[in-house]
C-alpha cells in the first residue's frame, strides 16, 4: 500500500532544529553561570537520573519500534539490562564513585588503567577500543537525524540525495561546537560540566515527551485505544510472528546474553561513565536514580509495541520500520506532532553525540595524544595545549562519525549498529569488574583479555558487517577464511545456534574473561599495580572523603614540583594546588613529604589522566618507586590507621558527651555546695555573733542573756537539721538505711508533723488548717520517713505562703489502693517549666532564681528531692499542681495497708 505522507518545508524543519539547538545553548549557558556562582542545578538527583537517560539514543527513539515491528519483544533486553543494573548501583556504582573521586578519574579508560598500575599503554588500548567501538554508534545518530529529516521534508525514505547529507553535517558541526564550548570548560576533566549535564537532562525530558505524545496520538487518535489496536493487530498475518518469544528473541540464551550486553553497556559506555561517575555530585544522588532511571526506561518503552503494530497495519513496507514513529503522524497529517517527534529524535541523537564526544575527546587527548606530546620538547603552557587538543579531538570524532555514516552507515539497521558498539565496550567488562572485586587480577591479564576479546569482537561482528557491504569477500562468511570452516565469523568453532550479535558477544566475552583470569593467575603484579588493586578492591572500606594514600617515598624539590604544576595547569592553578595542600597540612609544606607528591599527582590526574600524571611525578621524584612489600606495608598501615581513627572519632564523641554531662553535674554540684554553704553560714553567723556578744559584754542583764542564749540554741538546732538533711540525702542516694515498713495511721503522722511545725507557723503568722482525716486510713510505710516527707512539705509551705496572710491546708483522700496527701499553700506558685525541676537534686527551680522570690535560697534545696526518693521508694509518686500567682498544691500517694 502506498502511504501519503504530509511533509514540511526543509527550511522550516531546519529552522526549528536550529532554534532547538539554540535553546540547548541557552540552557547550558545559564546553568554554567549559575554553577559559577555556586548554585549547582545538577546536584538534584532528578537531574542526575535524567542525565543517565542519555542511554536512550535515536536507537531507542526510532530503532526500538523498528525492531519491534520485525522481531516483537526483541527490543526489550536493551532496557531490562540497565534496569537490573540500576538495582545494583547502590553497591557497584558507589564503589566506582568512591574510587573515581579519590583517584580523580576522568574516563573509563583512565579508570581501568589506574586500577592496573596507571600504565599509559593500557589507557591507550582502552581508549582505542572505545573510539573504534563507539564511532559506528555516533554515525548511527547522524544517520537517524538525517533519515528523519529526509522523511519529514520529502516524504521519501531512501537514504540518498544531497540535502539530507548536508543536514547531518550541519547537525554534526553544531554538536561539535556545542561540545567544544560546554564539554571542555575546564582543563581538569574531573570538574563537572554543569551546563552540559543540564542540557542533556533537558533533552531526556524532550525525547520522552515527544515519544509519549506520538504513542498517545497513535493509540487514541488513530485507533480507539490500545485494546482496539491490539485486537486489529491480532488479525494481521504480518504481526503473527511478533507474539512468539522464540521467533522474536531466538531463545533464552540469546535473550540472557543480550541482557548481559546491555548491563555492560550501561556501565561501560564512555558517555554513561561520564554522566554516572565523572559528573556525579554526590553518592546520595544514586538512591533516587536507581528507581527513577528504570521508571524512565519503562515510560519510553510503553508505546513501542503499539507503535510497531500501528506502523505495520497502517504503513507496512511503505517506509522502513525504523521510521514508523515519525511516519505515523505524517500519514495522519499531524504536522505539528511530526515536527515534535523529529525534535525528540534529534534530542535523543544529539544528547548521545554531545556526551559521547566529550568522553572520547578526553580519552583521545589524555591517553592517545598526550603521551607522545610529553616526550617532545616541553611546552611552556601544556594546559592550554591540552584544551586545544581536546577541542580538536571533539571535532575529529564528530567528523569521523560523519564520515563513517557517509561511507558505511547506510547498510545496516539502527539496532544492529548499536549492538555492535555495545559489544565493543562490553570487552572492558572483565577487566573492569575484576578490577573492582578481584585483587589478583593483573595488568597482563587485562591486556590479554582486552586484546583477545576485541579481536574476537572484530572477527565475529565487524567482519560480517564489512563482508555485507562488500569490503571483504563474502565467502569468508559462508566458508570461513581460506576455507577454514571453524573460523567462520558467524559460526565460530562451529557454533551456529546463536543469532549474530549473541554469537559474537558469547565468544568475545567468554574468551576475554578466560584470558583475563588465566593470564592474571599466571602473572605477578608489580608494586604500583598491587597498590592500586588494593585501593580499588577495598575502596568501600576506606570510607568516602578520605584522601588518597601516599604511595611515594621521600620527597621532591619544591621548585621542580612547582615547575611541573605550572607547565601542566598554568601558574595560577598550580599555585592553588600547593595552597590547597598547605591549608590541609595547616601551614608549611616541606619537600620531604610523600603526601605532597600524592597530592600533586592527584591534581595532575584530573587534567591529564592518572597514567601520565604518574609518569610525570615519577620523573621528578627523588627516590625510586616503592617495592611491593613497602606498598603493601603502607596500605596495611593506612587502613589500620583509618580504622583506628574512625574508632577514635567515635570514642572522642562519646567522651565529649560524657564530659558535657560531667560538667553539667559539676556545675549543679557547685551550685549545691554554694547553697549548702550559705545555709550553714547563716546559723553559724548568729551563733558566733551572740557567743562573742555574750563573752564581750558581761554587763548584759539576765533577760537579754537568756534571749541570746535561746537564739544560739535554736540556730544550733537549725544547723543540725541542715546537716542531717544533707546526710539523709546522701544516704538515700546510695539507697542505704534501714526501712521499717509497717501499717501507719495517716491521721497520726499528719498530726505529729503539724505539731512539730506549729511553732514555725505561729511565728510566720500563717494559718495551718488540717482537714479531718479518717482515723481508719492506714498506709504501709516507714513511719519516720513518711513523717519526714510531711515535715518537708509543711516546712516548704510555710516558707512560701505570705507572712501574715498565709494559709496552708492539709487534706487526705483515699481510693481502693492509695491514700493521697495534699499540702496546699497560697504562695506565689511555681512556673510550669520548674514543676518537674524542683524535685531534682541540687535544683531549686524558680524559687531560687528568676522567680518572684529571687535572692535567698530556701533551705538546702534537698527537701523535695529527699521527699521524692522516699515516696517513690514507698511505691507512690509525688507531684505539684500550681500556676504562678495561684499557690501550689503538693500531693503524694502512699499504698494503703491491705493486710490488716
Amino acid at each position: 500500500m502506498a502511504a501519503t505522507l504530509t511533509t514540511l518545508p526543509a527550511a522550516q524543519v531546519l529552522g526549528v532544529s536550529l532554534l532547538y539547538l539554540g535553546l540547548l545553548f541557552v540552557i547550558a549557558l545559564v546553568v554554567d553561570r549559575r554553577a559559577a556562582r555556586g548554585r549547582s542545578l545538577i546536584a538534584s538527583p532528578t537531574v542526575y537520573a535524567l542525565s543517565l537517560a542519555v542511554y536512550c539514543t535515536s536507537w531507542t527513539f526510532f530503532g526500538s519500534v523498528g525492531l519491534a515491528a520485525t522481531q516483537g519483544i526483541a527490543f526489550l533486553p536493551t532496557y531490562l539490562g540497565p534496569a537490573l543494573m540500576a538495582l545494583l548501583w547502590p553497591v557497584l556504582l558507589v564503589k566506582c564513585l568512591r574510587i573515581a573521586k579519590r583517584e580523580r578519574i576522568t574516563t573509563i579508560a583512565d579508570f581501568i588503567a589506574s586500577r592496573y598500575g596507571k600504565r599509559r599503554g593500557l589507557a591507550a588500548l582502552v581508549a582505542l577500543i572505545c573510539v573504534v567501538g563507539v564511532l559506528p554508534y555516533l554515525a548511527l545518530q547522524l544517520k537517524a537525524v538525517a533519515a528523519s529529516f529526509t522523511l519529514l521534508t520529502t516524504g521519501r525514505a531512501e537514504a540518498h540525495g544531497g540535502l539530507f547529507g548536508d543536514t547531518a553535517l550541519v547537525i554534526a558541526l553544531v554538536m561539535a561546537v556545542f561540545t567544544m564550548i560546554f564539554g571542555t570548560r575546564h582543563l581538569d576533566a574531573t570538574e563537572r560540566h554543569e551546563g552540559l549535564v543540564a542540557a542533556i537532562a533537558f533533552e531526556s525530558v524532550v525525547k520522552l515527551c515527544a515519544f509519549l505524545a506520538a504513542g498517545l496520538f497513535v493509540v487514541y487518535a488513530l485507533f480507539d485505544g490500545a485494546a482496539a489496536l491490539f485486537a486489529q493487530a491480532a488479525q494481521d498475518a504480518r504481526l503473527q510472528r511478533l507474539w512468539s518469544f522464540e521467533a522474536s528473541v531466538g531463545g533464552w540464551f540469546d535473550w540472557s546474553l543480550l541482557i548481559l550486553l546491555s548491563m555492560a553497556a550501561i556501565t561501560l559506555l564512555p558517555r554513561q561513565f561520564q554522566v554516572a561517575v565523572v559528573e556525579n555530585i554526590d553518592e546520595s544522588q544514586l538512591a533516587r536514580a536507581s528507581w527513577l532511571f528504570p521508571l524512565y526506561l519503562l515510560l519510553i518503552n510503553l508505546f513501542v509495541l503499539p507503535l510497531a503494530c500501528a506502523g505495520v497495519l497502517l504503513l507496512g513496507d511503505a517506509v522502513p520500520a525504523d521510521n514508523y514513529v515519525l511516519a505515523l503522524p505524517m500519514q495522519a497529517g499531524a504536522s505539528w506532532l511530526a515536527l515534535l517527534v523529529f525534535i525528540g529524535g534529534t534530542s535523543a541523537a544529539t544528547g548521545m553525540i554531545i556526551v559521547e564526544t566529550t568522553a572520547l575527546a578526553t580519552m583521545i587527548s589524555n591517553d592517545l595524544v598526550l603521551p607522545g606530546l610529553l616526550h617532545r620538547a616541553p611546552t611552556a603552557d601544556l594546559g592550554r595545549w591540552l584544551l586545544r587538543i581536546r577541542r580538536a579531538a571533539i571535532l575529529i570524532v564528530v567528523l569521523l562519525g560523519y564520515l563513517y555514516f557517509r561511507v558505511a552507515g547506510e547498510a545496516r539497521s539502527l539496532v544492529s549498529i548499536g549492538l555492535i558498539s555495545f559489544a565493543a565496550v562490553a570487552q572492558l567488562g572483565p577487566a573492569f569488574l575484576g578490577g573492582l572485586y578481584w585483587r589478583a587480577g593483573t595488568r597482563a591479564g587485562a591486556y590479554a583479555g582486552l586484546a583477545l576479546g576485541t579481536l574476537i569482537w572484530a572477527w565475529t561482528l565487524l567482519v560480517p558487517s564489512a563482508a555485507a557491504t562488500g569490503w571483504l569477500p563474502a565467502q569468508w562468511l559462508s566458508e570461513g577464511p581460506l576455507g577454514i570452516g571453524l573460523l567462520r565469523p558467524q559460526a565460530l568453532f562451529g557454533l551456529d545456534q546463536l543469532s549474530g550479535i549473541a554469537h559474537g558477544v558469547f565468544w568475545s566475552l567468554l574468551l576475554n574473561t578466560a584470558a583475563y583470569v588465566f593470564v592474571s593467575l599466571a602473572t605477578r603484579a608489580d608494586a604500583q599495580e598491587s597498590a592500586q588493586a588494593a585501593l580499588f578492591v577495598d575502596a568501600l572500606r576506606r570510607g568516602a572523603g578520605e584522601p588518597a594514600v601516599a604511595l611515594w617515598r621521600g620527597g621532591v624539590a619544591l621548585p621542580e614540583l612547582r615547575a611541573l604544576l605550572d607547565r601542566i595547569l598554568g601558574a595560577e592553578r598550580g599555585e592553588a594546588v600547593l595552597q590547597d595542600y598547605r591549608r590541609r597540612r595547616g601551614g608549611t609544606v616541606d619537600d620531604n613529604d610523600p603526601g605532597l607528591l600524592q597530592h600533586v599527582e592527584s591534581a595532575l590526574a584530573g587534567a591529564i589522566g592518572s597514567a601520565s600524571a604518574r609518569v610525570l611525578v615519577a620523573s621528578i621524584a627523588r627516590e625510586a618507586p616503592l617495592g611491593v612489600e613497602d606498598v603493601m606495608h603502607i596500605l596495611d598501615e593506612t587502613s589500620q590507621v583509618m580504622h583506628y581513627s574512625r574508632e577514635l572519632a567515635a570514642r572522642t564523641e562519646e567522651l565529649r558527651q560524657a564530659n558535657q554531662r560531667l560538667r553539667e553535674l559539676d556545675r549543679l554540684k557547685d551550685d549545691f555546695i554554694s547553697t549548702v554553704t550559705h545555709e550553714l553560714r547563716t546559723p553559724l553567723t548568729s551563733i558566733r555573733a551572740f557567743s562573742e556578744i555574750l563573752t564581750d559584754n558581761p554587763d548584759l542583764d539576765a533577760a537579754e542573756r537568756q534571749r541570746y542564749l535561746g537564739i544560739i540554741t535554736r540556730e544550733t538546732e537549725r544547723l543540725t537539721r541542715l546537716i542531717n538533711e544533707v546526710l539523709d540525702f546522701a544516704k538515700l542516694e546510695q539507697g542505704g538505711g534501714e526501712w521499717r515498713l509497717e501499717p501507719v495511721a495517716l491521721a497520726e503522722v499528719v498530726r505529729d508533723a503539724a505539731n512539730a511545725t506549729a511553732q514555725l507557723y505561729v511565728e510566720a503568722g500563717i494559718a495551718l488548717d488540717l482537714e479531718p482525716i479518717d482515723a481508719r486510713i492506714r498506709v504501709r510505710a516507714d513511719r519516720d520517713r513518711l513523717q519526714q516527707v510531711l515535715l518537708n512539705l509543711l516546712g516548704n509551705a510555710v516558707k512560701f505562703a505570705p507572712r501574715g496572710l498565709g494559709r496552708v491546708q492539709v487534706s487526705v483522700t483515699a481510693d481502693a489502693r492509695d491514700a493521697c496527701i495534699s499540702v496546699r499553700d497560697n504562695g506565689p506558685g511555681i512556673a510550669e517549666e520548674d514543676q518537674a525541676l524542683i524535685f531534682e537534686k541540687f535544683r531549686q527551680g524558680g524559687r531560687q532564681s528568676g522567680g518572684p522570690l529571687t535572692g535567698k535560697p530556701q533551705g538546702t534545696g534537698l527537701g523535695l528531692p529527699i521527699s521524692r526518693h522516699i515516696v517513690e521508694r514507698l511505691g507512690g509518686r509525688i507531684w505539684v499542681e500550681s500556676r504562678p500567682g495561684g499557690g501550689a498544691t503538693f500531693r503524694f500517694t502512699v499504698s494503703l495497708e491491705t493486710g490488716a
Partner: protein, 126 residues
Amino acid sequence: MTTKRVLIADDEENIVVSLEFLLRRLGCDVSVARDGAEALRQAQATVPDLILLDVMMPGVSGYDVCQQLRADARFAGTRIVLLTAKGREAEIARGRALGADDYIVKPFSTRELSARIRALLGLGTV
C-alpha cells in the same frame, strides 16, 4: 559629734538582732530593713551615714541596692558595707566595683566588725 545613723538590711532575723546590738553599743541610731526594696525606701527617707547591706535578700539584691544608691549623689557620703555568706574573691571585687566601701563575710567576728564600722564612721575608740 552627732549620732551616726546606720541602716541594717538583712532578712535573717537573728543576724539583724546581733547587728542591732553591736551598733547600738557603738552609739549609733539604728534602723532595720528586711529586704532590698525596703532598704532603698528607708535609705531615701533617712540618708544614713552607713548601710550594712546583706547581698542575698529576697527581691532586690544587695548589689542592686548598692548600685542604685551609688548612682544618687545624695548618698555620696553614705558608707556601704556588704555582708555575704559566700565571700569569694569575685564577689568582693564585684561589690567594690559597685561602690561598696567594705565587705564583711559571714560568719564574722563581732570585734572586727565593730572595729571596721568605727573606722568607716570616724568614731574614736570607745
